[in-house]
């Protein structure tokens, strides 16, 4: 087992990883940019190193600086959290070369799943359903038109190097596709430095259902059930829950099996997430695999009782995962996570500034994952996630009521937050009945 873990991240996830390290008796090293000196993860870690200027490129994305910090502090493992260097295969490789354990999957698995077209090829070969379309980058516009005629409109162009909703273009007919092709390539080039795009059938009103998987280096691959992540705006998730009202036990088994097959096809080790689109007819299709711990991992932790970050650390150390084999994927009760962002609830504009007053809710079934404290200044350089309010109830109804009362107890003053938006979503009739798709937020926002 390694002894000292450097956390190459900031914010709530850095605090979350420190918590797991402490419970395992591991020392921790925080790294931070010069504007993050007063961050909670810096105060909580055993050691802290300033690694660069405020822009991520100079600090949290700066591989040399992160590795130099590991070197001078004697850290023998690096946990990348999510975002920043978490899905950078080259970084994982360099860690390996330096004799530092990267707490995440092998570089080859990151690379495979980072190439979205190759990932489609790989999982399709393993028998996982994918949406009709191409599994190779398109050669040109005429090939796009040809494939679209074959599979039928609407279709969506996606960046091969992409993910997370960037560089996508939707087309409902030949004319639109002809126009979208060059735009999509340009966007992909700009966003990812690679203009390759592929095409697939566009599924209207799907649900976004993802499966948590865990794999250890002893050959065990399991799934821990699904997360329902359809409540999103511009592909940014706002609220997640587990289990999904759309899945029955049979479908859970079937999708879980597909998720495990996708992970096995990538020779995956560590925690990962297989994302699916689920149609209204119950047909599901592989979308992509995220090779990191997810923001929304706590909802799975709440319904399974598994500490995913601790499992990540144990697995990275070459241990067997500690999850008991019986029914780990059978959800116990219901969990909901609300992402509290520093943004205007109407315009969604980021709202950096000083948190002047803070009251965090508690009580039965309430968990707060946050780096906030009264007096903390939210800097404008990073993402706007301030806190994750996670509730657990014996069923969905109790979880919703609990989420409402916890939100009412939460006070964040000094910056604008998404608290009010969440309060309204929790009252929405379609949300309460569970009748929604990824189109929910568009409808919800146009209504108000």
């Amino acid at each position: 087992m390694f002894r000292k873990v450097l956390i190459a991240n900031r914010g709530e996830i850095a605090v979350r990883v420190i918590a797991a390290c402490r419970e395992l008796g591991l020392e921790t090293v925080a790294v931070h940019s010069d504007v993050d000196r007063e961050c909670l993860h810096v105060a909580l870690a055993d050691q802290a190193v300033c690694i660069g200027g405020p822009y991520s490129r100079a600090s949290y994305l700066n591989m040399n600086a992160v590795l130099a910090a590991a070197e001078i502090t004697g850290a023998d493992a690096i946990h990348p959290g999510y975002g920043f260097l978490a899905e950078n295969a080259r970084f994982a490789e360099i860690c390996e070369e330096c004799g530092i354990t990267f707490v995440g999957p092998p570089p080859a698995a990151i690379r495979l799943m980072g190439d979205k077209a190759a990932a489609r090829r790989s999982v399709a070969a393993a028998g996982v359903p994918i949406l009709p379309g191409t599994t190779h980058p398109l050669q040109g516009r005429s090939e796009a038109l040809e494939v679209a005629s074959e599979i039928g409109y609407p279709v969506i162009l996606k960046a091969a190097a992409g993910g997370g909703g960037r560089g996508m273009r939707l087309a409902f007919d030949h004319h639109e596709l002809r126009q979208a092709f060059d735009t999509a390539r340009n966007e992909a080039e700009k966003a990812f430095g690679d203009p390759s795009v592929y095409l697939e059938r566009y599924l209207e009103r799907p649900r976004h259902i993802e499966f948590q998987v865990l794999a250890d280096s002893h050959g065990r691959v399991i799934h821990l059930g699904e997360r329902e992540c359809s409540i999103q705006r511009r592909h940014q998730k706002l609220l997640e829950e587990a289990p999904s009202v759309a899945l029955n036990a049979d479908l859970r088994v079937e999708m879980g099996r597909a998720a495990v097959a996708a992970a096995r096809a990538a020779r995956y080790v560590n925690a990962g997430t297989v994302e699916f689109l689920l149609g209204p007819d119950g047909a599901f299709y592989f979308m992509e695999m995220n090779t990191r711990i997810q923001v929304e991992h706590p909802v799975t932790e709440m319904v399974t009782g598994v500490d995913l970050v601790k499992e990540q650390l144990l697995i990275a150390a070459g241990r067997k995962m500690s999850v008991p084999s019986r029914r780990a994927n059978q959800p116990n009760g219901h969990a909901i996570e609300l992402r509290i962002n520093a943004e205007d609830p109407e315009t969604f504009a980021p709202s950096p500034g000083r948190v002047t007053h803070l009251v965090l809710p508690g009580g039965p079934g309430v968990r707060m994952d946050t780096h906030l404290y009264a007096g903390y200044t939210v800097p404008p350089y990073y993402d706007s996630l301030l806190a994750k309010l996670v509730v657990h109830g014996s069923d969905r109804e109790e979880a919703i009521v609990r989420a409402r009362r916890a939100l009412d107890m939460l006070r964040v003053e000094g910056v604008k937050t998404s608290i009010r938006l969440h309060r309204r979503i929790l009252e929405d009739r379609d949300f309460v009945t569970g009748d929604f798709s990824t189109a929910f937020m568009d409808r919800f926002l146009s209504k108000s």
């Binding site: 909580l44 802290a48 130099a68 903390y376």
Partner: protein, 165 residues
């Protein structure tokens, strides 16, 4: 808009003259800097360093309030600051290990009292086995060398105090 360098310079100034807060409006931009009175983070649980955690001392930035916030600096500390009024600090541009000489047997690049030219190499900061030569960004006399030889230094850590001239 303020330039990043300008903001850094202002923070330095405010930090050096014990002002509680400072506000400036210029060209439609507003800047507020809170000085010595600002509060340090108060974690729910006090930080208890793990055994052995103190083996590596990372040189902190001078303007950072000590963690946890300590009493006001001792009198000789204040005098030292006064003696260095009007001086320039060369800060570390990268994380790494500070070396005063090109190799263990060599003389240090510079000593206290020596005159250095702008662009002259002052020290080496080693990061990932790369030796990075750190040059002086002013011409002047070396007043103080801050880190010990072979000490780890972080981004922004002060390395040298130089009296320009």
């Amino acid at each position: 808009m303020f330039k990043f360098d300008e903001i850094c310079e202002l923070i330095r100034l405010v930090g050096s003259c014990q002002v509680a807060s400072f506000e400036l409006e210029h060209g439609g931009s507003r800047l507020r800097i809170e000085g010595v009175a600002r509060s340090a983070p108060a974690p729910a649980n006090p930080v208890t360093p793990a055994p052995g955690a103190a083996t590596v001392a990372v040189a902190p930035l001078v303007e950072t309030p000590p963690r946890p916030p300590g009493p006001t600096p001792p009198v000789d500390g204040v005098e030292a600051v006064d003696a260095e009024a009007g001086t320039h600090r060369v800060v570390c541009p990268i994380v790494g290990t500070f070396y005063r000489a090109p190799n263990p047997d060599a003389d240090p690049y510079v000593k206290v009292g020596e005159y250095v030219e702008k662009g002259q190499v002052l020290c080496i900061v080693e990061a990932m086995k790369l030796m990075n030569e750190i040059e002086s960004d002013v011409s002047g006399t070396v007043v103080r060398v801050i880190p010990q030889n072979a000490q780890p230094v972080e981004f922004g850590a002060p390395l040298f105090i130089i009296r320009p001239g």
